[in-house]
Symmetry: C2
Subunit: 339 residues, 2 copies
């Protein structure tokens, strides 16, 4: 009478208990790493688990327990642009690496225009224990909304409308600062920038770094054109800069992908790189090394980014107090040919 339904394969916790000569409760304690288990029992249980090839049923743990044993990876703002970014690929790799070995599922969610509300409902409905939010637009309200519901979240990239939402980000400010210092050390005196849009923290922080670097040397911070992280807009921005200052001798471009467009315009106008104009990009994406000439750029460790993001969330979930609210990851200059 007990063999009624079509069962999933594999042993149950009860069998482990029998083989180990203890109760279900004790097996459960061992699995969840609780204290108050004798060394003897712990060993017996581990042996039994290995012998039977036991693996706990996720649904049952979630249903019975107070955790969902899953976290969400929320890709905000239509997903398309985030995903097209090789940056994201590296982050995802890091996230996964950090998750390895833990019994935590990674759920993918994209923020489609339709289901904004549904998504918040789903996330706060107990289906996940926390969320990693990768948001491009700094003013996306989602991170804040989620955080206010009390759901533990960590945002990848500093949110502009963040309030006190924990985030992990690359040190964009210092990366840009280093780039400018390099250009100055090379003797450049008329240093422009192609910045990102106003509504993205990543763009604004790089712009601040550029400003600060110039200010250090009393140089003008007038040569700014905002652009939107596409090669085409990078090209347009470069044209605008050249119109305003045909004699500029360096450009700090806030993303490699825009630098590609800028490079094309400079070359078309007959500027030699780096002789006439030095160019520094940002990201050290694959585009940088394949560009002609290969691009000097600011490197960020995207895999580390993903690992840190995940680590921060999991630590919070496991009750770790005194965690840093937010974390900045170092960036470093990569010298190639363009500067």
């Amino acid at each position: 009478m007990t063999e009624g339904r079509s069962r999933r394969p594999g042993p149950r916790i009860e069998e482990v208990a029998r083989v180990a000569g203890v109760s279900k409760s004790t097996v459960s304690r061992v699995i969840n790493g609780e204290k108050y288990v004798s060394e003897r029992s712990r060993l017996a249980v581990h042996r039994a688990i290995a012998m039977l090839g036991y693996s706990p049923n996720h649904a049952a743990r979630t249903l019975a327990g107070s955790r969902a044993n899953a976290i969400a990876l929320v890709i905000s703002e239509l997903g398309s642009r985030v995903l097209a970014d090789p940056f994201f690929a590296g982050v995802l790799r890091g996230v996964h690496a950090e998750l390895a070995g833990r019994h935590v599922q990674l759920l993918m969610m994209m923020n489609q225009p339709l289901d904004g509300e549904d998504q918040v409902a789903y996330l706060t409905g107990g289906h996940v224990d926390g969320a990693l939010v990768v948001s491009l637009h700094g003013e996306d309200p989602l991170p804040r909304t989620l955080h206010e519901t009390g759901l533990p979240i960590v945002v990848g990239g500093r949110p502009l409308a963040g309030g006190a939402v924990p985030f992990v980000d690359s040190d964009n400010f210092n990366g840009a600062l280093q780039a400018v210092r390099l250009l100055v050390s090379l003797g450049r005196t008329k240093i422009a920038t192609i910045a990102g849009p106003h509504d993205m923290a990543v763009g604004m922080d790089r712009l601040s770094g550029w400003r600060c670097g110039l200010a250090e040397h009393g140089m003008s911070v007038a040569l700014v054109v905002h652009s939107d992280f596409t090669p085409e807009s990078g090209a347009l921005a470069m044209e605008e800069l050249l119109r305003r200052a045909p004699d500029l001798d360096a450009v700090f471009v806030a993303a490699d992908i825009m630098a590609l467009g800028a490079l094309r315009v400079l070359q078309a106008r007959g500027y030699r790189i780096p002789d006439d104009v030095a160019v520094v990009g940002f990201d050290d994406s694959v585009l940088a090394s394949t560009a002609v000439p290969p691009l000097t750029t600011v490197r960020q460790d995207v895999e580390q980014f993903g690992r840190t993001l995940t680590w921060r969330l999991l630590s919070e979930l496991s009750g770790d107090e005194k965690l840093p609210q937010s974390i900045l990851l170092p960036t470093s200059l990569v010298r190639r040919t363009s500067a």
Copy 2:
């Protein structure tokens, strides 16, 4: 006594039943779209669900039912290379679009060298109903292994060691064929190719298309160099081709990213593009439009790819018979400047 544990928020199925004036069973039937429910009950239940904002508990459904209500997205072979590929980003977008509205979770899994066995165990352990496998190397044994366990899977990209594993792929053969026909129609007579590696179906299929296109016109298929989908190896391959045939007048490159390297070599040697040498790439990635000169290439609809992949799996899961075993998606030529 009934309010014992810390509960997740929201109403239970029992409350929906009470409000709708029917039994739990009937509510369950409505939710799962079973037949044998009167129109009257169905309406009442829908109304109650809307009123209460009810959403079924995933863990409970999974535990009680015979389905896991989740599918896995398995990124095979170290993940790094697949992910860095913008191709993958589009696929993922498609996958997600197709999943929208269904109560199916998307679990991310990466195939790390360590946990090959664990992964198979996890996937076949009833945690998911099926899997989408995105595999780069055609000879990866994972798709076949999984398929043999009986787990419904669909592979993105034709597997070489596939056996009868269902897959979805772009029509690489015809894409290459079209590319060659274009080159022929442009009067080119010495058409080389930079092919992908031997162990990837995507490379081999494009190579076959190139061969076939040349054979149609009785042209030589001798000018082949294999490469590995990086710009650097594309450059090396181009150098090799020029050594063997300095007078070639066209190259079909099996990926835009390799074409970038080839372009660089050709330009460095003083060949004019497309005047001296016409170049056609494959993928229509972002690289193609930003290349100098903009690359004529073969386009594949990556989002459609993801949608189709998912559709095929879900159809199988819902018991659809007479599904096509595998599906090829059309590719089309995009004319730009390089040919």
